[in-house]
Every structure is written in structure tokens, then in C-alpha cells.
Symmetry: C2
Subunit: 542 residues, 2 copies
């Protein structure tokens, strides 16, 4: 029997409408690329967003068409997001940190008709423009005064486009909530990037579920520095969640070094911020070097890769700032878990609490999560059993864009490619990437744990573990250590060091020393390259 | 273009599944009617809920059938909610405070096949049982030991039902999210109660949007005393929102007097609670009389009727407890607004802040809200213009159950029947009920404001304002004052008192003194009766 409540599809344009009506005076502040800060309100943002939507209409854009952005976090990028998806088109965010050929691939694969680009990336675009066979129109996100010299045919200036659009009013179409809203490509190191097409529904639900005090803790009192890029993984949805509650959003533009981040936190009285660990490392170094504090900052939300204990300690003990560890991925819109304290932790020692904060946290309501062994059997939530981390729910990918391959199992689970444990409090912890784990005699050895143990040696800078085929055990770990000149420890010393840190059967069967461990574009160790390099390596049979 | 995320309907059963999996050890604590506290975990609750669902299956219940509850807040009631809606049937919550004929009407109008009833209400049920032509089966929510003597044919004992159901497992059907989940009747004083059929979607979305720090501020650290009844207006959704985040729920059973509420707050270390003002008055009186404090309690959420300044002051200044004023109605699933401080209030004086806390607050994200004049023109958000409060959105009623009448205007707005202002910070304040407002010469006079002004006179106990037809002004206010023995002030004194408090043209044209102002079942002034009593009253032409 159908209920009798209003049929009201979840549409993203409504988020900005809500903010403009009920938080009309709240600010969006942007560090501009041209220099200086730009400030305006949600009400202002809506007016300009509607102008852009009118431009898209006048241009003849069809619903479902793709419009790409290649831009830093800033107000024009925010307007683009809402105008494109509100119009019923698909906002394809392109990550400028990818290789030019990957950027070219994404723009071509998505068949983006229009591209909105920051002045920073005009030279990059010039280099690849001849390859972009579907691209019809480039709009440079700046004003007339700052338009760069360029070779891009017919490129328009964003502020000219808005100024030329007289119509302020725009009636957002009412879209089925399963309509595509944005298209985000993975930045995996293997193969071509894969597109995940978020829906109005998935964006809105995911963002709404980050508002609570156990996730991002967003209110109209929050001043949120959005360091996580809008060009990748949806900026963790905070560009949607912020206006839902009328939070002040601060968009930091291109400068993400410790000094720039410190200065914007101070100037804008930031209370909370989202970023990956490398940004926080830069900030912490700057604070320490200059003996600075951040008295108004209450919490930092960290994801993208695992947080170290020393980072948690520094924030919490030295600066009185709470660390919220999160986990997500492009395929998950992107947030899956967040780690906030639970009542049971009251009885933990400080050290136990610190260890616990390194877990990735509990699933958001809306994310179903389980761990499975290689045969698809569910593993217990005991904090010890490690298995493939599987997810499903209204903001989990069903299929990649323009790929026919089925990516869900028969029960609808998506395999994240991570190996994780789940404990009896519902906390998830990633122990490895599935493709990196070493399968030894039916048991799993975590490459991450082994690498971290090796790198905790004071004279080892960089270390990598890969699995080498073994006649008896299937696979055994090989430790690769980067030479550190005279300081490089001897093999025996390393083995001795590891023996006291990991189980005996985890100890690597061999250690190789190399001049340089290859890194991928993301800055992570390029294990694909290492595996190729060591494909003919034979383990000594112990 | 459709996006490519998983199609995952929002189903209520999933809420309890989530809590049982990821907050398995969190408690639900209930004050039982039989005496003593009952404690168990979300994991326990799920097992028993599935047993009840299996009973419904064995009984032969069809999806869409109505199953009613007549019960206090307690764990068995909670299990009933989740089992019935999870099964795909409709949980009809019946308010035992209504007149027996209204209860009988609701059970008959909803054609409820099964009724789950607390022992408290068995005598009431015995009186009306012969009228309940659709009711097939009564289940008394107790164990064998506490089964009362009764005359209800074939009534079962709840714990016997669960004990007899061996099957623990139950595969929840996957329901379209627009499926009806619960049916709640209005308790209006005029006409028969009207049924609002909430959907899985509306219940889930509304509840999810209460989690944020600007609304109920719910986390796994929250211990929430749910005083608002599960038998009316959906307990403000907190029975759903609590398990979404793993909050500890405390269900207080039948005793809601100041002493009982104080004791349960102390014993269970309550941090937050939801209730109507009368409950809080009782608690405050008990605290004051006994010189008690509530050191762990952080906030009280108050709705149902407007909060007085003295109550806000008492909580905030005497006990250090934040007051969150909310507004909702059965037709709104039920929550529409919540009042939490905004950044701009930092510059307010203490008195301004206090006044501001009396507003009903900002709309939750998901509730569209506007004020309109009698011609349907939108009025400005200036904090002064008062108009009909109109709402629409995914948890606003579309139609009443088994009524064909259209209740939305051509733009989909539902008229709440309230008169309100909206200010430039997005805060709504109710100034009157539409049917009570006095329309004088094209302007509106708020009966609530006039009544409050009169009742602020130290010797006036009870006062009511009704409109009397007027040849020139259309309507003018008549003030009706309840006699207070010797203390009753003279007419001239009252007029003088009011002159310094309201605009001159608001002053009542006449004052009548009566022995007793009639009250409706809800405890509010029965204006319908007053209007009838004074229908022939003629105003002196001034």
C-alpha cells in the first residue's frame, strides 16, 4: 500500500535554494587564483548560479550532456557544480593532477561538450586541446581583466558569460532523483580512469548523512575549510552538506602549503577542515616551526589515506584539535566511514584511545558493510579476522560509466579492493589493499603492516613489500628497501628488528636493496612497477 | 540520463539491522508498566523484532494491512513498530488520551486487523471492543505472569507469542520506499481524527535530518529520554534516528510526572530529552522544590506547543541546560523546524537571545516553507509580516487516509493552519492559529499575543480572545476572562494594563467575565465552544 506523503524528488538545486532562503546571509569565502579573497553569500551564489544555468540553456545544452570542470576549490567552481547538475546535465570533475593523457582520456570518454577551466590549467589545456574531439566550448573561470593569453579557439571569459546573461530567474527542472548529476573518475594507478556517475539522490543522501555529530558535525556555526578538492571524489560532499545547514564555506584555491593553510585558518576563523594527511603534515610542520597555535579550530577530518599515530598525537595533544579519521572512495560518493569516539572508549587508556583513532571508523547510516573471505563467506566482527571489504547501499556504484562489466556480486556487494577488519563496536580498519596482500599458506600477510614495521626503523626511509611465488606457500613476502647511503642497515639487522615486531611467519623471505623505489603519480609506491622489476626473482627456499 | 549508483530503497527495517550490526552493544532501556527497568541491546531488539515479524507471517497478515498499537513508550512497542512496518504492513499508532469514541473511530477507520495493547489500556479496550468490527486479534504487551483478567476474546500474551515463534531469521521484504509504514491520526478538536500515512521514505528522511547538531544533535554518545509519545506524531522520529547513530534510547513508560522523570534522568545518565512543555513544567517544579540539579543533562528539546520565556530561563540559567525549541505537526511526519543559535546571535544581548529562543526556528533541510496572505501572495521574510504558514517537501502529507479531498494548493503547498512570520535569518515564529486570528479592517490581530498579554496580569488566571463580527472592521476582539473570586481585576484596570502592552487598535472592544473558560481534551482553550457561547454577543460600537 502506498503511503500518502508528497512525492518530492531529491534534487541538488534545492540545496542552494534552501541555503539562499534560510541562510541567506551566510558567507562563502574563496581564496582566488587572481589574488585576494572573494566573499559573498548563499543568496548571491544562487543568483549567479541561475545566470550560468540560463547560459547553458541559451547554449542549447541538453539534459544529460556532460560539462566538465578543471578547477581548484572556489566560488565559480561551486556555481558550476550547482548550475550544471541543477540544469539536468552532468558535471564531470577532472583531476588536474592526473597525467595529461589521462585528462584527455576523461574529457573524451565523457564526451564533455563544455569545459570550465581555471587560469592555472589553461597551458595544460592548450597542450591537449587537439585531442578533445567532443569539446565544443571552453569557459575560462576568471574576469576580463585576468583573462590569460591563450590559443584556445573561441574560449569565453566566465564573468563575461554571466554579465551577458540578463535573465536572473531560472526554474530548475524537477528531475527524477536517479538522474545523473556528476561524473567522477577514479585515479587508480592501473588502466584507464573509470567513471562513477553520481545521482542527485546519491549525492544528496550521502551528504545529508555526513551532517551528524558522529561524522562531520556540521551546523550553521561551523566555518569549514574545504581543502579536499572539488575536482576529485566530490569534495566528500561538503559542498552539498554545508549549504544544507548553512555552514560558512571557505574555499582555499590553489595554495595548500602549510603557511597558506595556516593563514586562511587564522583569517577566516576556521572551526573545522577536511583534507588528506599530506596537507596536515605541511600545516603541522609550519605550526611547529613557527610556534603557532590554532585556538578556534576544533576538529580536522582526515581521509584519503591512513592517518599516522604521530599526526593524531600532534593534533590532539599539542594543539587540542580533535582528529576524525574517515574512509571513502570514488565508488562510494565518496564517504563510507568516520571514526568518532564511542561511549565504551571512556574506559580506555589514553594509548588505547590513540590506537583506536587509527581505525577508519564506523559505517555511516546508509552504507552496508561486511568482510568476506575469498570464497565469499562472511567473516566475524571480531577485530581480528581480515577479509575483503564489501559495501552496498544507495550511494555505492552499480556500474562504471560506459562499461558493461558487472561489478557487483550476486548479493549486490561491491568489492572495495581493500582488506579490512570489523570489530565488535562496528569499527572498520583497513589492513591492506587486496592486490598487495601476501597469501601465504592460506593465511594473509598485510603488506602495509610489514612496510610500516620496516619503515619504523630509524635508518630506513622507504620500504615496499611484494609477494613472490613460492612452491610450498603459494606466496611469500619480499622486502625491498631503498638505499640510504652509508646509513642503510644490514639485512641481518633489519630481520632482527622485524622479528620483535611481527609474527615469525610474516618475516620476509628475502630483502633486496634498490637505489630508488618507484612512485606512482599519486605519490604512493608503484607496486605494479616493482612487481614487473622483480618478476624473475626467485626466493631462497628456507 | 540515469546515474549509475545502486538502487537501494530506503526501508525502515534496515535501521534496526544497521544498529544491531554496528552498534550491537548499545542499550535500549525501558521503564516497564509491570514495574522495574528492562534493559537490552539493539542486537537483542532485532532478534525479537524478527520473531514478531514471523508471527505476523504465520498469522497470514498481508502487506498493506493495518496493525494498531495502543501503548506507552517501551521496548515491546518499539519492536512492534519495526516488525509491522518492516513486514510491509502499516503500524497504526493510537493515542490513548483521545476520547474512547475517537479511539474506536481510528481502529475502525483504519480497519486494523491486529491490536497490540499495553495492560494499562485493557479496561479501555474492553469498553469499546464491541464497536471494533475489523479487529481480529488482540495481543497484550506483557508476559504470562502479568496478564490481566480480561474479557477480550482470544487475546494473546505478547511474550507467549514470541516464545511460540521458533524462527529467529526473517528476510525483510525489499519495499518500494513510497510504501506506507505507519498511520498516525491528528488529534484536532474539530471533527473526526484524520489519518496521515507516513511512508518508509518520509519516516527515514525526516529522522535522518534530525540527527545534525542544529536539530537533535544525535550521536552514539547521546542518551536520549524519549518522553514524546510513540502513540502520537511518530515520537518525532527519534525511535528511527536513535538507532541510525547508535544512541542509547530510554523509554519512560507511563509515569511522566516530575519525580519519575527526574529519577529516570538521574539513574540512566540522560544527556538529552524530547517532551512537550507540560512535562518540563512538572520536572522544573520538582527540581525547584527539592533543590536538585541535573549535571549530566545537556539539552532539552521542546515542541508540541510554544515554550515560555520563563521555562527557557529556568533551564538555561538555573540548570545550565540548553533549550531547543521545535515545531512540527502530524501532517509533517512531524518535525518542521528547530531553533538552535546561529553565528549572528553572538552579537545579541542576553535578553535578545532569550527572545529569539522563543521562535520556532529554522526549517530542517527538506522542508520548504513560506508565508502567504489570504490571496496566496508570498510575504517577505522580514520578521514582521505574518501570513499563512505553508509547507511542502518529501515528508509533508499529500492526502489524508481514505479521504478524496485535495488538501494541497496548485503549487503543492500544504496550509498548516498556523499564522507565522519568517525573519531574515530564516527563523519562523508562529503568531496564531489561522482560525483564531482576528481580522480587523484588513489587518490581523494575533489572539495568542493578546491572550498572553492579558494572562501576564498577575491576577488573571485564564483569558481567551475570540473575534466578534463588526459592521465596519469585519471582526473585533472580545476578551473573555475567567473569574478569580475577589481577585478578579476590573474591566478598566485590564484595559489600562493592556494599553501599555499592545497596539491601541489591538485593544479588545469588550471584556466578558465567565466562571469557567471551557478546555478541550488536549488541555487547550476550547474556542469552538466559546464561539458558540458568544455567537449572539454584540459589540458596543466605539
Amino acid at each position: 500500500m502506498n503511503g500518502l506523503m508528497q512525492k518530492f524528488p531529491l534534487n541538488l538545486a534545492y540545496i542552494l535554494e534552501h541555503a539562499a532562503r534560510f541562510h541567506s546571509q551566510q558567507e562563502i569565502v574563496s581564496q582566488t587564483i587572481e589574488g585576494g579573497m572573494h566573499r559573498y553569500t548563499y543568496a548571491d551564489a544562487l543568483v549567479r548560479t541561475k545566470k550560468l544555468a540560463n547560459f547553458l540553456k541559451d547554449y542549447g545544452l541538453e539534459q544529460g550532456d556532460r560539462v566538465a570542470t578543471l578547477a581548484w576549490n572556489g566560488y565559480r567552481h561551486l556555481e558550476s557544480w550547482f548550475a550544471i547538475s541543477g540544469y539536468g546535465a552532468i558535471c564531470t570533475t577532472v583531476n588536474p593532477r592526473l597525467f595529461p593523457e589521462q585528462i584527455s582520456y576523461i574529457l573524451t570518454h565523457s564526451k564533455s561538450r563544455i569545459l570550465l577551466v581555471d587560469i592555472t590549467f589553461v597551458p595544460l589545456l592548450e597542450k591537449i586541446q587537439h585531442e578533445l574531439v567532443h569539446l565544443e566550448q571552453v569557459i575560462i573561470l576568471t574576469d576580463r581583466e585576468h583573462m590569460p593569453d591563450h590559443t584556445i579557439d573561441g574560449a569565453l571569459c566566465y564573468e563575461d558569460v554571466l554579465a551577458a546573461t540578463e535573465e536572473d530567474a531560472f526554474d530548475w527542472p524537477v528531475l527524477d532523483e536517479e538522474t545523473g548529476a556528476s561524473l567522477c573518475y577514479t585515479s587508480g594507478t592501473t588502466g584507464d580512469p573509470k567513471g562513477v556517475m553520481y545521482t542527485h539522490r546519491s549525492n544528496l543522501l550521502m551528504s545529508a548523512m555526513t551532517i551528524g555529530p558522529d561524522v562531520f558535525n556540521l551546523s550553521s556555526m561551523t566555518t569549514m575549510l574545504v581543502v579536499v578538492p572539488m575536482f576529485h571524489a566530490n569534495a566528500w560532499g561538503v559542498v552539498y552538506a554545508g549549504p544544507m545547514v548553512g555552514a560558512k564555506l571557505v574555499l582555499p584555491g590553489p595554495h595548500l602549503d602549510g603557511k597558506s593553510i595556516y593563514e586562511i585558518i587564522e583569517r577566516e576563523e576556521i572551526t573545522s577542515s577536511l583534507a588528506v594527511p599530506t596537507v596536515w603534515t605541511g600545516l603541522l610542520e609550519y605550526l611547529q616551526k613557527n610556534h603557532l597555535t590554532l585556538p578556534l579550530m576544533k576538529e580536522v577530518i582526515i581521509g584519503g589515506s591512513a592517518v599516522s599515530k604521530s599526526m593524531v598525537k600532534a593534533f590532539q595533544q599539542d594543539y587540542g584539535i580533535e582528529v576524525i579519521h574517515g574512509w571513502g572512495m570514488t565508488e562510494l560518493n565518496p564517504l563510507g566511514t568516520a571514526n568518532r569516539p564511542i561511549a565504551a572508549q571512556r574506559h580506555f587508556t589514553e594509548e588505547e584511545r590513540l590506537d583506536y583513532s587509527l581505525k577508519q571508523g564506523r559505517p555511516l547510516f546508509g552504507v552496508e558493510m561486511c568482510i568476506q573471505d575469498d570464497e565469499g563467506r562472511h567473516l566475524p566482527h571480531d577485530g581480528k579476522s581480515a577479509g575483503r571489504l564489501m559495501v552496498r547501499g544507495p550511494w555505492v556504484v552499480a556500474k562504471y560509466y560506459r562499461q558493461e562489466t558487472e561489478i557487483l556480486d550476486q548479493d549486490g556487494w561491491f568489492d572495495t579492493g581493500d582488506i579490512a577488519t570489523l570489530d565488535d563496536y562496528g569499527f572498520m580498519q583497513i589492513t591492506d589493499r587486496a592486490k598487495d596482500i601476501i597469501k601465504s599458506g592460506g593465511e594473509w600477510i598485510s603488506s602495509i603492516d610489514l612496510e610500516n614495521s620496516a619503515m619504523s626503523h630509524p635508518r630506513i626511509q622507504l620500504a615496499a613489500i611484494i609477494g613472490i611465488p613460492h612452491p610450498k606457500w603459494e606466496e611469500r613476502p619480499l622486502l625491498i628497501v631503498q638505499n640510504n647511503g652509508d646509513k642503510t642497515p644490514e639485512e641481518a639487522e633489519i630481520m632482527d628488528y622485524l622479528s620483535s615486531r611481527v609474527a615469525k611467519w610474516w618475516l620476509p623471505d628475502a630483502i633486496c636493496f634498490v637505489d630508488s623505489i618507484p612512485l606512482a603519480a599519486s605519490g604512493k609506491i608503484d607496486k605494479k612497477a616493482l612487481r614487473k622489476e622483480f618478476q624473475d626473482f626467485t626466493l631462497p627456499i628456507i
